[in-house]
């Protein structure tokens, strides 16, 4: 049963400002330069009011409710909390220490059904470090399964599908929302040993899912043909074939992107492209398919034959073609704090500033269906926000306050503890 005050607040939602006394204490950040990433756009001198973990008001000339804690930003920039679209935060501590890595399934039974959320470690030292870069939310994407480097083979103990991507908050127990997309790779690192084999396997497996969905009872009685996928994976893929849950497809080469788009059309799937270094070459196709792209804005090296066309212009060109893009951090774990610099580097290569900031705030929220809660400063949204002492895309700007769910976060990390110990010296013998 809900506590009475919460119940009442629920009844009065939408009229929250009119009935402040019934809700929890409010916090107002005033005299801020608000980059709302929402319909209000940029507000040169505005206020944002938070209560009960939510934003209740954003705008110029707001009067904070009586009793609110008022913080004068003195002209500082306030943005929504940054959103890292491709991470392993919470499921990996040290890359080389396998015991700390819960980002992948080595089981051939659990591909699409693999849920790395169960491995979340709220004590990870990576989260406070990423948070100091202004990152308040992230998508955790399972790594490709199987034994060898470079992803799973369908016959090699791995799986076509890496598992369930999910969302975290960079605070508390981390888990925010599970099962947002099923991750997989297509191309050199795909399953089946070749692109043709992988498309064939995908088609066959998704047919199995539809067959299973129509014949669950018979399947459970053992009266159907044998199916290659485990029952768990079949269940996990039903939302995918129904178009309710997207496939998050890591894909690089222009022709492979076209194949994925064509396959999605054929199978009536929703897809999100991840990587897409050669996306700029097929930008019109991606835009026409209304498929969003998660990309590394500084991946410009032809490291293999899938990305001969890798370019620093990818982000700007995709965006100019009308594609929704999210920009990722330079690595998915220890360098998530550098997310905002990647957006800045994309601006240096021609991406409009607003688009770059969107690509690390509201765009990933939209891509994963969370924009009604995250990514912008609007009434009703989660109160994730960051106060900056300058332009948030500049490395020489630092956050001065970080709120997640309306709760101010400590500007501390294990790295800062180390710094402080050695900056001052603690008497340890050298």
């Amino acid at each position: 049963m809900k506590p009475f005050s919460t119940f009442l607040a629920g009844l009065l939602a939408g009229a929250a400002i009119a009935a402040p006394a019934l809700a929890g204490p409010a916090t107002a950040i005033v005299h801020a330069r608000l980059l709302t990433m929402g319909p209000a756009g940029e507000i040169a001198d505005g206020a944002v009011i938070m209560r009960d973990g939510k934003i209740v008001a954003v705008g110029a000339n707001l009067t904070p409710p009586a009793g609110a804690t008022i913080i004068d930003a003195k002209g500082a920039v306030v943005t929504p909390g940054l959103f890292a679209a491709n991470t392993v935060l919470g499921v990996r501590e040290v890359n080389s220490v396998k015991g700390t890595d819960d980002a992948k399934s080595a089981s051939s039974e659990l591909g699409a059904a693999f849920e790395p959320q169960y491995g979340l470690n709220p004590e990870t030292t990576l989260v406070p470090i990423a948070r100091l870069g202004g990152v308040t939310r992230a998508i955790v994407v399972p790594a490709p399964g199987g034994d060898g480097e470079g992803g799973g083979g369908d016959d090699g103990g791995g799986s076509l599908f890496a598992g369930q991507a999910f969302a975290i908050r960079l605070a508390g127990d981390l888990l925010f929302k599970p099962r947002l997309a099923v991750a997989m790779s297509f191309g050199e690192n795909g399953a089946g040993g070749s692109r043709g084999a992988e498309i064939g396997l995908l088609r066959a497996r998704l047919d199995e899912v539809r067959f299973y969905k129509q014949n669950r009872a018979a399947y459970d009685r053992g009266e159907t043909r044998a199916l290659a996928l485990s029952r768990e994976d079949l269940e996990a893929l039903i939302p995918v074939v129904e178009g309710r849950e997207p496939l998050l497809v890591t894909v690089h080469r222009a022709s492979d992107i076209r194949q994925v788009l064509a396959f999605a059309r054929e199978q009536r799937l929703r897809v999100i492209l991840n990587g897409a270094e050669e996306g700029w070459r097929v930008a019109a196709d991606i835009a026409a398919a209304k498929v969003p792209v998660i990309l590394n804005a500084t991946a410009d090296l032809p490291r293999n034959f899938e990305i001969v066309g890798a370019s620093l212009e990818n982000a700007a060109r995709l965006r100019a073609a009308g594609v929704e893009i999210a920009i990722v951090s330079p690595d998915p774990a220890h360098r998530v704090r550098e997310l905002r610099y990647e957006a800045g580097s994309a601006v240096a290569q021609g991406l409009p500033y607003g688009a770059a900031l969107e690509a690390i705030t509201v765009a990933p929220a939209r891509i994963f269906g969370l924009a009604d809660q995250l990514g912008s400063l609007q009434p009703g949204r989660v109160a994730d926000l960051v106060v900056w002492d300058g332009d948030p895309l500049e490395p020489r700007t630092l956050p001065t306050a970080i709120y997640i769910d309306g709760i101010v976060q400590p500007l501390r990390s294990r790295a800062l503890d180390l710094r402080d110990r050695y900056e001052t010296g603690d008497g340890a013998s050298r």
Binding site: E93, V94, N95, S96, V97, T125, L126, W280, R281, T298, A299, D300, L301, P302, R303, N304, F305, V308, G309, S311, L312, E313, P330, A333, H334, R335, R337, E338, Y341, G344, S345, V347, A348, Q349, L393, E394, P395, R396, T397, L398, A415, L416, L418, R419, Y422, E423, R430
Partner: protein, 488 residues
Amino acid sequence: MLQQSRPVRDVQARRRAPWLAASAVLLLTACAAAPKSQAPAAAPRPAAPPPKGLVPARDPYPSTYAPPASGLVAIVNANIYTGTGQKILGGMVVFDAGKIVAVGQSAAPPPGAKVIDAKGRWVTPGLIDAHSHLGVFPAPAVTGQIDVNENIDPNTGYVWAEHSVWPQDAGFERARAGGVTSLLILPGSANLFGGRSVALKNVPAVTVQGMKFPGAPYGLKMACGENPKGRYGARGRTPATRMGNVAGYRRGWIEAADYGKRWSAYDKKAAKGEGGDPPKRDLTLETLSGALDGDLLVQNHCYRADEMANLIDVSHEFGYHITAFHHAVEAYKIAPLLAREHICAAVWSGRWGFKMEAYDGIEENAALLTKAGVCVSLHSDDPNIIQRLNREAAVAQAAGRRAGIDIPDAEAIQWITLNSAKIMGVADRTGSLEPGKMADIVLWSADPLSIYAVADQVFIDGVLQFDRKAPRRPSDFELGQNRGDLTQ
């Protein structure tokens, strides 16, 4: 006030190399054929010179890099970070014939100079990366292409990185677009002694000889920690532990010292014309004894503070100097020791945690070390980071500020210019804008400590080698591949 980085040991004042002595011997024997009236009657008959290759040549793989003569150029109305720790607003840089002629406040450009109006844009020395694997771990890094680690023995002092460098690595051009004009290419860190590094100018070239930094000293790559100790135990070989690592260095140095002694004895005899067969050459020990002599600069990959301290003790035991610890993520824990030893640290701003020995990496490393008087360079070890070394400097500077350490902009720039040149042993030739130095110059679109700055023009030895407005020059590998109408 922060001190400017202190001078490192003068690497030019080196003891004579065995092969220098040897070439002097060759000269002597050549001259001995001519009759000399003053020659003592009892002088022994000079020995015939040993067959080619049995005595080390002074420079067997010479640079063929010869920049085309640049004309007289003046960049005016520029804001300049000189690399010497100075900032000049509204300044001018003049260069001619590949060398810097003048740096200072804007004045009338010299007559006949081609004038580039910077219009308030920024100028720095060419950036320098003291730790790169471009060419040896190239793009594409596909099967057949990776030549970074001679991963078969803990002591591969016998390999030379230059013999792995593939000049068509697409990364060179990308790094040039990021303002990098010189770089140190190192063998990988799989081995205790990984081999010789090579210093390159970042110019388009077909051969590695065409990129080699003329006259730059060689380096010896050494590695601590997890990488060497993790490769050999499973093969039933040492090292399998950090103590095994240290034993391996000591064994190597003992052999090298002995080898050097044998060559010195031979050199002495040969100098007296006594001849005799030279000791048998050993490529590994030639490199190691060169490091003991100070001819090769010791470039030591090492993460943990305690291991760096151990390596310093090893260097004392055998009487060599460690030029720089590379990566050095825990260098901040022993900053006074590094300052005392005049050992540079080539570090990252943001990489950490990918293995246990990198777990204590902090963004303030560079700032804390600089405050303690250590010569600090921000290196890449990565083909993407090398394209944005200026961003690394800004990140490290910001971390310093957060800790109350104010590194002035002009000194932060030294992390990616002059100090890196010191580590490479070329600080007398590049790394700062000073008359007489190589005209390695970057004209930036904005203050390079801003994320929005890009290199508009990059001059190497006075030659415009990158121009953002000109069509890019793809590597041979990329040429004719479908890159559409990309300009970058």
